[in-house]
Symmetry: C2
Subunit: 499 residues, 2 copies
């Protein structure tokens, strides 16, 4: 493809990717290394470069190059032709969406949510929802306006969901979540609660030593990633061979840093796999959806990181690294700690089982909010009554209730459900994998070897990029559409295992 | 200046500055944190953003905004008017220079020097100048072509010198360096040589602990900088309140990391001071020249960091931090170590006295090279004969001779002399300061307090930005043009102090 209309359009795309990766570098630096006084100017740098990125993405120049590539495509033979058609199709879909929003709406929304952030922080601190109500009202109204501009077939919420999970709708989610909800509520009721956290202080240095080998053990290539510390764990990609993950350290809760690393390594393994696709960078070599992305962090964190085999291999290593004896920390205790189920009012503190109920609650509320079935002023009441109904917990104030999450203050409606979609996809994918690789747990237990799983995911998920939409990808790999029964089965089995 | 032609042109300038700071972030990350496999893609990101920066700097849009501002200037009253006139004048001068180089020459030169880098690395490794000769010949020829495009009054070398030291010429340098050269050669002959390095192994952790307080002690504000590790110490600015410095650690040579920090802190103090100018960011809030920049690193590293008062204050602290007793490391030994004079073939290993002779040698050679008085093939011979003449040292092979520095392989002709200009300026500036602040050394010795010096530099040098050209700035502050006698005096005094 030397100097064809295809290569010319791809060259332009490559420039966009370069700017996106530069933005990732600015973000990573901001969270990990930047001196605190640099924040204001950094925000201006990020805004300027994001705006440039948006402009060149929706530009006439790019339009013409895409048209040129489209007109050239008949000269190419299958199977390359089919991939190119798909690539140009999803690119057009994304550009059409981006062009639908006038620039003044984008800038206005960025400004509104930016101002709302500090209002939310203050309201949460003061346990006073009323303080935040007007700001949230503005955000909800603009979100509705944006949804109308995007357009939708069935309900307005679907238009926002498409930002994160193309092809997914409120009705589909509601069906997927129905059985899950029914199954989790009794699990929550029966759940033993381990009120003690991991009862040993472990220095950050010892935790680091244990954590540093995990990403490599799971399959991230040395010299193509780094592990750092930030206030909230995250992962990002700065280039094909430059993936970054972070975690945080609590000396009284060493499991927190470990599961941070496992979760973020999952995200980075997906990103790394995408980057190894043949035509990198092309519109196909990106994550298919947030739900799929989250399925990879959850799969490596939960299906692997909370499995018996994983800890059978790592138990002697953690004893050695943490300088603990088996009589102080038994295998059974450790395994129970990593699989604790307990009721909490706070989503980010929830375990892998109850977490989904927190998400379903949010999904139900935000869907009604966007579809005009609920007003912002009714939020605290509906939140608290659902917490009572699902968890049997009494919310005392809005800081431990409706104000706890940052998402809505940032205008992220439609984002929450992708967390539980991630859990559903991960259980369904892993079920499919383990059906054909029964000896995998032996590799893990005996040698800490995860290569069968990584190879399978690379072939079936990572190397597929955006060739399919998320629901079709799940269908293609597992033979059926997204189905929450595998997650339900996994959670029930886990519950019994810990018993 | 709300929405005037001035504010509109400044807004555009601010965008250029944002891109430059983003580039600094990419460079810093590359040197300090990036996983090694990320280098190829990072190079592409840097090239793309540099090219965008260049394009908008020389654009017609910017031209029109500058014209608009120029036409508006008569409506503004002094003293603001004078500063604005100066600002637009130096901006035009820099744009004129940038526009003189056709884009294909810029790209071609970037490509030639990029390819030459690996050839130089290999030739240096193989101690084989001939391997590098053709590449260097190309670089020299393109440099001459570039000098012709820039234009000059007297000699071609002057055109390249202007890249780094506006207003400086080969003739002026040759006059400035003449006495210096005459004075250093006998010092070099007489110099005691301390063949032992600092004879104690000190862990990196202990060195770090000592180093971390130095930038703050010298005057960099906490939360507006950070100190890291890189292969070669450097400093850079990522924004008004975001300065970065690095050093490197050798357990068998702890003085190396300390003087790295002092040197780079000097650069960052200058950058920080520039950033605090009223109209930041404007074309006036940048460093006036490389020589002035270097004068600040040298001043803090040498005039301060190698002074008796500095070590009288830090001697007990370093004993404590390094866990050494006074009988193991006496004050006299320490003071001699930091002021060692010895002959070396390698510039970067040279002490503050002999260093200047290495620079003068390079200046003489590169000036002749650019002015056609010398051909590339004659370089090793002339290099070796000058090393014999100035240092009485026999060069065995080109790796310890003409191939030792990266500069020429990167096309940096005219860069070397700014190192010694920095030494000349620093001695002249410091002489002027200490004349009026005789009690400064007492502050240092008793309390490690450098605030009088920093205040003086801020007022007289840093806050002047580019209001004057470098020679005029020195004249303005010290009452006379650049004069090497202060450096000569300083070096002689130092020699006696140690002797």
């Amino acid at each position: 493809m030397i100097d064809s209309p295809i290569s010319r359009y791809r060259k332009y795309w490559n420039e966009i990717v370069n700017y996106q990766n530069i933005l990732s570098c600015l973000h990573w630096d901001m969270e990990v290394t930047m001196p605190s006084n640099g924040s204001e100017e950094r925000a201006a740098q990020v805004t300027q470069l994001s705006s440039l990125c948006h402009k060149i993405f929706i530009s006439q120049d790019f339009e013409r190059l895409i048209e040129g590539a489209s007109n050239y495509i008949h000269k190419i033979s299958p199977p390359e032709k089919i991939l190119l058609e798909r690539e140009l199709q999803i690119l057009q879909r994304e550009r059409d969406r981006a062009i639908k929003l006038p620039i003044h709406i984008v800038e206005n929304f960025a400004n509104t949510t930016s101002l709302a952030h500090s209002v939310w922080v203050s309201a949460k601190k003061n346990q006073n929802f009323k303080e935040f109500q007007n700001s949230l009202n503005d955000i909800v109204n603009t979100s509705k306006e944006i949804a109308e501009l995007y357009g939708y077939k069935n309900e307005r919420y679907d238009a926002l969901l498409e930002n994160y999970e193309i092809g997914m709708t409120g009705n589909m989610l509601s069906n997927l979540f129905a059985d899950l909800k029914k199954s989790i509520i009794p699990i929550v009721e029966q759940a033993k609660t381990y009120s003690n956290p991991f009862p040993h202080h472990i220095s950050m240095q010892k935790q680091r030593h244990f954590n540093e080998r995990l990403p490599i053990a799971l399959g991230l290539p040395k010299n193509s990633f780094r592990l750092d510390v930030s206030a909230h764990p995250f992962s990002t990609s700065l280039g094909r061979y430059d993936k970054r993950i972070t975690t945080r350290y609590y000396e009284n809760d060493p499991l927190s840093s470990i599961f941070g690393v496992l979760h973020e390594t999952g995200h980075s393994l997906y990103e790394y796999g995408l980057s190894q696709m043949n035509d990198y960078p092309s519109p196909l070599t990106n994550a298919v959806s947030l739900g799929l992305h989250e399925s990879q962090s959850r799969l490596w964190e939960n299906q692997i990181g909370r499995s018996k085999a994983f800890w059978e291999y790592y138990y002697p290593i953690i004893l050695k690294d943490f300088e603990l004896s088996g009589s102080i920390l038994s295998f059974e205790d450790l395994f129970n700690f990593v699989n604790t189920t307990s009721k909490t009012k706070i989503r980010v503190e929830a375990d892998q089982i109850t977490y989904n109920l927190h998400i379903i609650l949010r999904f139900e509320i935000e869907r009604d909010l966007i579809s005009n079935n609920l007003s912002v002023s009714e939020l605290p009441e509906i939140w608290n009554s659902k917490m009572k109904e699902y968890f049997d917990l009494e919310i005392q104030n809005s800081s431990e209730g409706v104000l706890q999450d940052i998402h809505w203050s940032s205008g992220l409606f439609g984002y929450f459900p992708t967390y539980t979609l991630g859990n559903i996809y991960s259980a369904q994918l892993f079920h499919c994998f383990i059906n054909h690789h029964g000896d995998f747990w032996n590799d893990v237990k005996k040698a800490g070897n995860f290569s069968k799983l990584l190879n399978w995911l690379n072939k079936n998920v990572y190397q597929k990029g955006k060739i399919f939409d998320p629901t079709d990808l799940i269908q293609d790999v597992t033979g059926q559409p997204p189905n929450s029964s595998y997650l339900i089965e996994y959670l029930k089995t886990k519950q019994q295992e810990v018993g």
